[in-house]
Amino acid sequence: MMRALRCLLLGAFAAGLAAAPAMAQEEAPAPPPQHWTFDGLFGTYDLASAQRGFQVYSEVCSVCHSLQYLHYRDLAGIGLTEGQIKSVAAAVTVPKGLDDDGNVKEGPGTPADQFKNPYPLYDPILNVVRTNEKASRAAHNGALPPDLTLMVNAREGHGDYVYAILNGYVAPPADFKLQDGMNYNKYFPGHQITMPQPLHDQQVTYADGTPGTVEQMSHDVVTFLAWAGNPELAERKQMGIRWVLFFVIMTGLTYAVKRTVWADVDH
């Protein structure tokens, strides 16, 4: 009976694990799994892809979506040189505190500045730019384009989901009632999304000659956003291998010591 119970217990665990993903996607189909170089124990970001993704973000997404928690200096994480970062930052105009008359000063960005917000609301006391939600909603039919810094972390399905959304614009079924100003997306919960299809073939011209298909651009921008959400990933995994190895060795050593200490005990 006890063995049967233990089997039951294991079965219950397994059932729980199997059922967990099922509850997340009630209305929309599960996003098809993609291959990401940053998955797995040793996976890291494909920096060339992340850089292309940054180009896609800059030329397409950044029109509506902010990257609130990124600073230009962070771009070193996807392999941009100091000079490249300086010129990227210098290309935008950002608020720089108050002048003597109490007006907001503006100037070219530096590596220390936050990514430029499409709907900036500047707080000169904390010297922080946030999203002006009302301005953003007014420009988007009442909807608020979410900040993308943590987008890949903040959705069930993560990178696969974001990729699926970017590729999920298909013709709605004949009997589907689409509301005014909405767009049909296969993978969006409820299928009605305010964002019109953002990526079209050849929209971005890559400098390295990679063809700008929707699939390629989505893949690149998801890689970039995954990095934006988890910039520490590569360092973390590298460190993890060392620490786990360390504890494996320490376990072996302490176990040997334990055997020695206990050798003369009848137990």
Partner: protein, 422 residues
């Protein structure tokens, strides 16, 4: 004048201190020569593991608090500041975040160890009850800690849990307003939760001290559940159990590190990467995994007040467990029926946990009701009756005896081998 304590330490500095404040003598007595049953299995590691985790949580928490902003406008961003700009901030935060889960895993195994081997029975009732207090403080601390990042699940979890108190008639709503410091979960709530989240771990240290002090008065239980009869049954804590605990600590830290470095968000909810928004309720409000069984108990009852009472009752019932279990035999090893139903109880708790993660619809409602029923039946009906009905197996004469015989109870004529260690 009181007689001066005579220290036996050779080092003159230690001797000087120890004569005036015998902390070294105390440590020697409680963690050096402390007589400990010689037959512990690795389940007896988990108390030490919990202690290690508590220290890790406090150490990382102090550094997090140096960079965290307990303000609804700034909290979420300050976490990102920690994750991105603070040196190794991501490491400190991931250790702290996953440390909470590790703390509960370790503590739940520690509690199950106590249930299986009857560690709550006389003379360890008070030791057990102090342990339940530790669990309650841990839960309060974990709950408030989860609110601090001010993500969607932080906010809505806080709203749901604090609202539980509104189920009580008359005093309910005033209590909720008082807890919130206003009329909704807001900045005053976050401020006080931060303050209490910083305070409670130190209260925890005090209660853990009492837990260990009580343990050292009555002595440890052991897998056989029988009393220590002679010095032959015990070993000095050091080096035997310091080294055995060290093995467990290394394995534990290895697993802990694997989670922190390779899957730090495995146990988290994606919704908590979205800043709290009081105007938008997430589709599912789910607590952290370690609260899921209680959440399922709460939702299994159609009446809110009764549900809340069962939720609290499911933990408070542990306080009276030493008197509900009427069997004089401690270890499940010698209780043929208890040995099986304790796994049924664990199964019920695990299924409740799974139910808690699902919307209360269809099969999950029925399952959570059946398991809730069993949870309470187990403590309130089965255990009191079982003590009277069950025929325990014959107990071994002493801890050192079955060891020589190879595990089972010994025939009464067998002679014990003289021990070299005492």
């Amino acid at each position: 004048m009181a007689e001066q304590h005579k220290s036996e330490f050779a080092n003159p500095v230690i001797n000087w201190i120890d004569t005036r404040l015998p902390i070294f003598t105390m440590m020697q007595k409680e963690y050096g020569t402390f007589p400990t049953p010689k037959n512990f299995n690795y389940f007896w590691n988990f108390g030490a593991l919990a202690m290690v985790t508590l220290v890790i949580m406090i150490a990382t928490g102090i550094f997090l608090a140096m960079n965290y902003q307990p303000n609804t406008e700034l909290a979420f961003g300050s976490i990102q500041h920690i994750m991105r700009d603070v040196n190794y901030g991501w490491l400190i935060r991931y250790i702290h975040q996953n440390g909470a889960s590790m703390f509960f895993i370790v503590t739940y195994i520690h509690i199950f160890r106590g249930l299986y081997y009857g560690s709550y029975k006389k003379p360890r009732e008070l030791l057990w009850m102090i342990g339940v207090v530790i669990l309650l403080i841990m839960m309060a601390t974990a709950f408030m800690g989860y609110v601090l990042p001010w993500g969607q699940m932080s906010y809505w979890g806080a709203t749901v849990i604090t609202n539980l108190f509104s189920a009580f008639p008359i005093v309910g709503h005033p209590i909720v307003t008082w807890l919130w410091g206003g009329f909704s979960v807001d900045n005053p709530t976050l401020n006080r939760f931060f303050s209490l989240h910083y305070l409670l771990p130190f209260v925890l240290i005090g209660v853990v001290f009492l837990h260990v002090a009580a343990l050292h008065i009555v002595g440890s239980n052991n897998p056989l559940g029988i009393d220590v009869k002679s010095p032959q049954d015990t070993l000095p804590f050091h080096p035997y159990y310091t080294v055995k605990d060290s093995v467990g600590v290394c394995v534990f830290l290895g697993i802990f590190a694997a989670v922190v470095f390779f899957a730090p968000n495995m146990l988290g909810d994606p919704n908590n990467f979205i800043p709290a928004n009081p105007l938008q309720t997430p589709a599912d409000i789910v607590p952290e995994w370690y609260f899921l069984p209680y959440y399922a108990i709460l939702r299994s009852v159609p009446d809110k007040l009764l549900g809340v009472c069962m939720l609290f009752g499911s933990i408070l019932i542990l306080f009276v467990l030493p008197w509900l279990d009427t069997s004089p035999v401690r270890s499940a090893r010698f209780r043929p029926i208890y040995r099986q139903i304790i796994w049924v109880w664990l199964l019920a708790v695990v299924v409740l946990g799974i139910c808690g993660a699902h919307k209360p619809e269809g099969i999950w409602v029925l399952l959570s009701r059946v398991c809730t029923l069993y949870y309470f039946l187990h403590f309130l009906v089965i255990l009191p009756l079982l003590g009277k009905l069950e025929r325990p197996l014959p107990l071994p004469e002493s801890i050192s005896r079955p060891v020589i015989g190879g595990g089972g109870p010994m025939p009464s004529g067998a002679a014990a081998k003289p021990m070299e260690k005492a």
